[in-house]
């Protein structure tokens, strides 16, 4: 596998390689948030907080405690999941935008915590993290996560998550323990947030609390909503567009963020449900597959 990676590094331009690696990480992060916000409908605006927990935990474990790469990643994700579980508990009582505010507050507290956290280098950040993450590891994990996510969302549990988003009272009256499932969505989503964070820190070599600020959370939320709430292809597309957009917009140099902001507004005006929000594979098949068959109207 190392040979394969060496080959990839040799033949692909480092600039594109970097974008592809970051895309893989963003997909993992966004799929985690998609589970919480897109699928279960619990607006979270603090996903970068979980990412930073995973990033710092795994980095410190592999630098100072000699954890192997995989173990460090899993431990980082597990710690993030634990905090996701804790944050999931207020969902017992809070609704809608109150919950959003708690997630913002939580992520800010985490950021301030790392700004004052001695082993993490405080505001200076943490450098010298081993660069274990490469194209192969990121995309192997990303594909695995996509596959597991797809399976989950097509299962009984996945349908229950969607049902909570659509109508909580009706969901409860079909026997869904809405409280437990909301906490579960938070826990699983944060696990992926922590995993993405670990991959990120082991790729970047250097991390700093400002990498995981409010704007990062918002960027991840944009990926989920832009692509289409709750849709896996939509989330992947959203990650793709928003990972590439800043790169493409490099030609406009300092006007980059200006265009980025305008792009968000324009996309929402023309595709209010997200780019793939109301597109289903089933409908596409029907539209293209049955062209010659004249079905009579029932």
């Amino acid at each position: 596998m190392n040979g394969l990676d060496a080959a990839i590094t040799q033949y692909i331009d480092p600039y594109y390689l970097r974008i592809m690696i970051l895309l893989g990480i963003n997909i993992i992060l966004a799929l985690g948030l998609n589970l919480i916000t897109g699928v279960t409908g619990q607006l979270s605006m603090g996903h970068a907080g979980f990412m930073s927990i995973g990033a710092y935990t795994s980095a410190i474990l592999s630098m100072q405690f000699g954890f192997s790469y995989l173990m460090a990643l899993l431990a980082g994700a597990a710690v993030a999941a634990f905090f996701g579980f804790l944050i999931g508990i207020p969902t017992l009582r809070l609704e809608g935008d109150y919950l959003a505010m708690v997630t913002i507050g939580f992520a800010e507290i985490i950021r301030v915590f790392f700004l004052n956290f001695e082993p993490g280098g405080k505001a200076v950040g943490l450098s010298g993290i081993p660069q274990h993450t490469n194209f192969i590891t990121v995309w192997l994990i990303a594909l695995l996560i996509i596959a597991l996510n797809t399976r989950l969302l097509k299962s009984r549990m996945g349908r229950a998550f969607y049902a909570i988003r659509e109508n909580e009272i009706a969901a409860a009256s079909t026997g869904i323990d809405t409280t437990r499932l909301k906490i579960l969505a938070f826990t699983a989503g944060s696990f992926l947030g922590g995993l993405g964070g670990g991959l990120y820190s082991h790729y970047m070599y250097y991390i700093n609390p400002q990498d995981f600020g409010f704007m990062k959370s918002i960027e991840l939320l944009n990926m989920v909503i832009l692509g289409g709430m709750g849709s896996i292809p939509g989330t992947i597309l959203g990650s793709f567009i928003l990972t590439l957009a800043p790169e493409m917009l490099r030609i406009v140099a300092e006007y980059r963020l200006l265009f980025y902001g305008a792009l968000l507004v324009i996309l929402m005006i023309f595709r209010p449900n997200g780019i793939l929000g109301d597109v289903r594979i089933y409908d596409l098949k029907k539209r293209w597959g049955r062209k010659e068959v004249k079905t009579c109207q029932s």
Binding site: S155, R156, Y162, E166, A170, A172, S173, T174, D177
Partner: protein, 254 residues
């Protein structure tokens, strides 16, 4: 044998007494109707039975078990299915998925089983799907199983809600104004349908309805609520002739 017993159920909302000491016994296999003017507390009663509200006073017994403080999902799992007066479907899910979610309470594949796709989970998925399709066949929505629920016509949405409630394999089914917005032809069909599912699925049915002719035709017993109190109970013939009912509800013309 009584399926559902209400003993002195009262419900207060900030000083307003929505229900006042309601007693009621629903026997196994019967179709029991609750009627009353708007605001009489009919829907509140349903919300108490399904655990959405906790009653301020009184006891709620389902098959010899007190369910007063039980959570909504646990009550559903005991086998109480319901529909809603203001339709509550999962709008952005397909018709088929709406019914599949309906069987959540009687299926068990959990999070990790779903992730791993174990054989037992796949088997259960098959069962859930085939049963959902049967139910859609029964309510005449099979051809629309891939439509989004909110693209259905109003009457179809009502039928989909019933199919979803039946997916829970309930022994007690609560129908909240099932005939609302239907024309007389549809109402006749609905009555036949209710009778049919009761027999085929051995259901006990409790229904709230405004349409008098429907209630009088299919219910074996009827309770009348007015301002949160039960003012009468009995078979349709008796209710029709009850002085207090005529005064407070059926009005002069009835």
């Amino acid at each position: 044998m009584p399926v559902l017993t209400l003993e002195g159920i009262s419900q207060e909302f900030g000083g307003l007494r929505a229900l006042d000491g309601v007693n009621m016994v629903v026997e196994e296999g019967e179709i029991f109707g609750i009627i009353g003017p708007n605001g009489a507390g009919k829907t509140t009663l349903f919300n108490i039975i399904t655990g959405i509200y906790v009653p301020s006073e009184g006891d709620l017994i389902f098959k010899e078990r007190r369910i007063n403080r039980m959570a909504t999902h646990n009550i559903a799992r005991l086998g109480i299915g319901r529909t809603f007066q203001n339709i509550r479907l999962f709008n952005k899910l397909s018709v088929l998925d709406n019914v599949r979610v309906g069987s959540h309470g009687i299926s068990r594949s959990g999070f990790f089983k779903s992730l791993l796709g174990l054989p037992s989970m796949l088997r259960e998925e098959k069962e859930i799907k085939s049963r959902a399709e049967e139910l859609l066949e029964l309510v005449g929505l099979y051809d629309k199983k891939m439509e989004y629920a909110d693209n259905l016509a109003y009457g179809e949405q009502r039928r989909l809600e019933i199919a979803r409630a039946l997916a829970l394999k309930p022994s007690l089914l609560l129908l909240d104004e099932p005939a609302a917005g239907m024309n007389s032809g549809e109402k006749v069909e609905l009555m036949k349908f209710i009778e049919q599912i009761r027999q085929e699925m051995k259901l006990t049915i409790l229904l709230v309805e405004h349409d008098m002719s429907l209630v009088m035709t299919i219910c074996e017993r009827i309770a009348v609520l007015d301002y949160g109190r039960k003012i009468a109970e009995g078979p349709p013939e008796e209710i029709k002739n009850d002085e207090r009912v005529i005064q407070s509800y059926l009005g002069v013309g009835a």
